[in-house]
Symmetry: C2
Subunit: 154 residues, 2 copies
DNA sequence: ATACAATATTTGTAGATACAAATGTATTGT
DNA sequence: ACAATACATTTGTATCTACAAATATTGTAT
């Protein structure tokens, strides 16, 4: 279905408007599918995102600012987000001794365990979401998104 | 910048994971740019979206359910969203006489006025966001997004 | 050493979102 | 007509987000 039908627009939209709407609309639908999966494990998408970043540290600590920098959703309140993950026992936090303004955040064994359990489920879901695009089309989509995104740096 | 650099991932991601992350990341950046513009006019993106839908009705009423169906962000609380727009005088609401369960929502002259003022600003912003893609690339991106989105209906 | 600025995180709070339950109205079957 | 069900919207509430202000620590200039 073309985006004009999806949002039931009776007008022909300018190509830029159409593309912006299409991006917002499509990513929203993708996110809904992801939220539905993570929800069963008591995780929000930003929380899952943080766990993935912490696993990627391979035992090294991450600071709050590092997390914020790498998160998809930069504006979440990272302190309280980490609090939630600590409550669940998936993350731990120390004050950094070298610079007591900073904190050191680690993923726990339980955190690694839940991620390991989620890995195939999330990956399967991603493949389901993208099943209508071929490998080449996926490469092409990534190329276009990477190119699009550079508007920010100019 | 490729998505792996953007989120500073040291791993090579599976193409499906990479694409999902890229979509979320890119649409978030686009939305931030849009929010920044609308904010100056006291509008959130869902509110702006509702005003656009109402203008598209050309004088015909829209019900709440119609709005919900056409909104990008289906899950907003549409009643309270419309309340906000009524407070600002950009929208009005009646109970439908034929079926008193339904309500009829219209855009006001002031609502049309603010949209008219915003049109060139929003369009310029959209063009800025997409300036790195050619017309052909935009068409290609829309084609890929439309194709991607059909996963839902299966 | 002291004051001032810079850095890193936390806290407060207004507003938005998600979801379930409640309300009011219309339709259908008996 | 009456009860049961379906429909359309509203309301309650817990949670999340955005943003500004506050706190705590460190670095720098005099």
């Amino acid at each position: 279905m073309k985006i004009e039908e999806a949002i039931k627009s009776i007008h022909t939209l300018a190509i830029s408007t159409k593309t912006v709407v299409n991006m917002m609309y499509t990513s929203r639908i993708m996110e809904e599918a992801i939220v539905a999966v993570l929800k069963q494990y008591g995780l929000s998408t930003p929380q899952y995102n943080v766990l993935r970043i912490l696993r990627g540290q391979h035992g090294n600590a991450a600071n709050l600012s590092t997390l914020q920098e790498r998160m998809i959703d930069k504006n979440s309140n990272t302190t309280r987000l980490v609090d939630k993950l600590i409550d669940k026992g998936w993350v731990k936090r120390n004050v950094c001794e070298r610079n007591r303004r900073k904190i050191e955040i680690f993923i726990t064994d339980d955190g690694l365990k839940i991620l390991k359990q989620l890995d195939p489920i999330v990956e399967q879901n991603n493949e389901h979401i993208l099943k209508n695009l071929s490998k080449n089309e996926l490469e092409e989509l990534n190329k276009l998104l990477d190119k699009l995104r550079t508007f920010k740096s100019e």
